[in-house]
Symmetry: C2
Subunit: 335 residues, 2 copies
Amino acid sequence: MASHPAGRAGTVRITDVAALAGVSPGTASKALNDTGQLRRETRERVRRAAEQLGFTPDGRGRALSSGRSYTVGLITTDSSGRFSIPIMLGAEDALSAGEMALLLCDTRDDPVREQHYVRTLLARRVDGIVVTGRRTEPREPIDVPVPVVYAFSSSTNPADASVVVDDPGGAATAVGHLLDIGRTAIAHVTGPQRHRSAVERATAAAAAAGAAFRGPALYGEWSERWGRHAAELLLRAQPDLDAVSCGSDQIARGVCERLRELGRRIPEDVAVTGYDNWDVMALACRPPLTTVDLELEELGRHAARMLLDAVAGRPHRGTVELPTRLVVRASTLPD
Amino acid sequence: MASHPAGRAGTVRITDVAALAGVSPGTASKALNDTGQLRRETRERVRRAAEQLGFTPDGRGRALSSGRSYTVGLITTDSSGRFSIPIMLGAEDALSAGEMALLLCDTRDDPVREQHYVRTLLARRVDGIVVTGRRTEPREPIDVPVPVVYAFSSSTNPADASVVVDDPGGAATAVGHLLDIGRTAIAHVTGPQRHRSAVERATAAAAAAGAAFRGPALYGEWSERWGRHAAELLLRAQPDLDAVSCGSDQIARGVCERLRELGRRIPEDVAVTGYDNWDVMALACRPPLTTVDLELEELGRHAARMLLDAVAGRPHRGTVELPTRLVVRASTLPD
DNA sequence: GGAAATTAGGAATTCGTTTTCCGGACAGAC
DNA sequence: GTCTGTCCGGAAAACGAATTCCTAATTTCC
C-alpha cells in the first residue's frame, strides 16, 4: 500500500529523497541544485531518487531560505483594455519559461489600490515587478527595493527600464506603404489631441508623407463614429484624396464605411490604413484593413526577459522601443 | 539616522516589533493575529509597535508555518478571448479583497502546459485553483489535492463546484423582450451547431418565442459576415419578419448592417437583439444593440468567493447558474 | 486558607529548503 | 611516514512567522 514513503499523500519532502538516496538532506539539496562538491555518481543517485518519488521542492521553504520567491508581480492599471492583455500574456509566457510565476494585480487606475498592491507584492517578497499601463503616456515610477520594468507606458524617470512601442515608426511604415503603392494625396485621422499616441502618430505620418500629406491631421476620438464623420469632412475638403492613414482600426473602419456609402471604392479610389491590428475591427472591416500590429505580446515577453535579467543581476536601464509590423490587407491592395 | 531598527532598510521582522513592544516574538504573533490569550493592553501595545515600524509579515515565513500560502492559481485555457478576461478580473477582485493573491497561468489550450502549470501551482502550495475556459462546453476536471472551482466551463463531474452562465435564461429574456414590444415573427441566428452555447440559446429562444417563432434557427459562425448573409436568407424566406434574436453581438451587427442595406428600418420594421454585450460591437452597431450581458466579472467574483469558502473549510458542490442581464438599446426601442 | 481553575505570556519547536561550516578520507610530495 | 592539499558529504544554522506546550501568577471556589 504505502508505495509512497512520504507522510501525506502527494507531499514528498527533500528528506524523503535524501533518505532514499542514502544521503543527508543538505547533500540532496546540493545534488538537485547543481551546487556544492559532489561526486557525479552521488548526484545521479539523488536525482533518480527524486524522480522516483516525484519530488517537487516546496516553493515556500525554497523562497524562505534562498531569499528568492521565484515570483514576480504584474501591476496593470487597466487590464480590461485590449492593450494590457497581450502584454500580460507575453510576460506570463516569458516568465513561466524562466520558472517564474506571475502575480496579477489590477489597480483599476486607482492610486490607492496600486499602493496596496505594491505593499502586498513586497510582503510576498516578489523578485521583481512589471508595470504596465493602458496608454503610452509615461507614468510616475513606483518606489520599491526590487527590480521594475515598465511596459507600454514608460516611466517618467528616463533611467528606469522601460519598453515601449515605436509609435512614430509604425505610423511612418503605414504611410510609407501608401506611398509605395503610388498614393499622392494622403490624409490622417486620429484620436484626441491630448493623447500622446495620437500626436506622435500624426506627426510621424505627416513627416513620412512629405509633399503627399494633405493636412492638417484630424483629431477626434477613438471611435468608428468619428471615423465616419471624418470621412465626410475629408471628402468635402479634399475631393481628390487617394489615401487615408488612420490612428486606430476603429477609426479606419468608420472611415471605410462612410467612404463606401459615399461611393468611393476601397482601395481603388481611396486606400485606407488602420493602426493596432485589432482583429475584430481589422478583419470585420469591409474590406479587411491594412494596419500596424503593435506586437504587444512580444513587448510583454521582452519586458519580462528584461526583468529576469535584472533579477539575475544584469539590470537594464533606459527605454527601448520595439518595432511594429505592417500587416497588408485588402484596404490598400486589391486581392 | 537609524530611524528604523530593522536590519536591512525596509525589512522589519516580527522580532523587531516584539522587541519594541517588550514582548516575545510568539506573543507578538498572537497579538497581531488575534489568537492566544493576551491582555487587551498587550495586544494594543504590539499593534502600535507594528504600525510604528510599518511591519508587514513576510509572506514566505507565514506560508511555511501556517500551512497556507494565501495564494490561489487561475488556470485559463485562453485568456486572449474576451470571455476569460472579465472572469479573471472579477476573480482577482474578490480574491484580493480576501487578502489572497492570484497566480496567472495561461495554458493556451495545451494539455501539456496545463499539466505543467498544475504542478508548479501545487509546488507553490496554492490554497486553491480557479479553472476557466473559453467555451461553455464542460471540461475534464483537474486532479489536485486542493479546492477547485470551475468558472464559465463547468467540470464534467457534476459533483465538482462550477459556476456558469444561465445561457437559456439569457436567450429567453431577450426573446421575452421582443414579445413585450409586440413582435410576432421572430427568427434566431447563431453560431456553429457544434457549440453548446449556440444550441442552448437557440433552443431557449424558440421555446420562449412559442407561436411567434419563425424557425428553424439558422446556424453558421460567430461573425458579422455570417450575420449579413443570414439577414439575406431570412428576408428572402420570411419577408414579414419583425424581429431577429441573434446568438452574438457580432452576428447581430452583421444582421443590422445588411437589413439596413436592404431598406429595413431598425427597430421600426425589424427589431434585433444581440448576445454578450460586447461593447465594441453593441455600441458601434447602427443602431446600438439591445443585448444580453453575461455579467462575467460577477461570475469571476462568485467563483472566487466560492473558492475562498472552500479554502475556509466550507466547500460548495455542484453547478450554480448565474443570471444574465438584459441591456436595452435602440435596436429594439426607438430613442 | 489551601486547592483548583483560569489567565497571561515566554521558550521552544515546526514548516522545508538552502547554505555555511567542518571534518574525514584519500592522494601526492618530500 | 608525516605533511599538505583536494575532494566529498554531513551537521547545523539560517530564513520568518505561527503554534504548541508550559510555567508562573492570579483568581475562584469550598
